[in-house]
Symmetry: C2
Subunit: 120 residues, 2 copies
């Protein structure tokens, strides 16, 4: 996360071209924790298989305010542009992973967006 | 987003100490677009007012898959650690902003998590 050590910038600006996808997952209760771990590992491996997928991050909810609405896993994927997402969506490795994980998800929220930054 | 130009890393790893908060907002339909813009501007300004808030990013939904569940705004805040979030939560500037924005939100999801990365 180099951005925290950047010099102060005083304007809000769009980071040119970058598109980020954020996904929140609630896994089904009947999916075993080890299976969830394996699915996440397979998910992370897409970054090695899909050229247009530039970064992959995940995290597990650790908030204390209880506003997670049952979503306990967050995934952040970054692409160079909207075409990169389009290429990812139809990539065989992604389609295969999608088939693998879908039966294990109780609910999902997904948003794609261009990043606008404001750094200290 | 320097991470995309980093050399290849082959292991999934936790980014030491960093905690990210992702928030999805659905603004109320009756809040005027200009008012939403002003609220977002005030939100971004917290990065200048709250020492423990290290980065602030936002984006507007541009996805075509319609899995946004009505959430059209995403906010990503980064803190050095959980103590940083705790300090932010009770900071007067944050509390004031919270009072300002709350009446305009129809729904919200919020998750805090330690980042785990996998870069190409």
């Amino acid at each position: 996360m180099e951005e925290v050590s950047r010099p102060k910038e005083k304007t809000m600006e769009e980071v040119k071209g970058f598109v980020r996808r954020v996904l929140l997952f609630k896994f089904k209760a009947e999916t075993a924790p080890d299976h969830v771990k394996q699915l996440i590992k397979d998910y992370s491996n897409l970054v090695n298989l899909v050229e247009s997928l530039k970064t992959w991050h995940m995290g597990k909810d650790a908030s204390i305010e209880n506003l997670h609405e049952g979503f306990r896993h967050v995934f952040e994927l970054t692409f160079e542009d909207a075409e990169g997402i389009a290429a990812y969506m139809v990539h065989p490795a992604h389609l295969e992973f999608h088939e693998q994980i879908s039966p294990h998800l109780e609910k999902i929220v997904m948003i794609d967006y261009k990043l606008t930054s404001f750094h200290t």
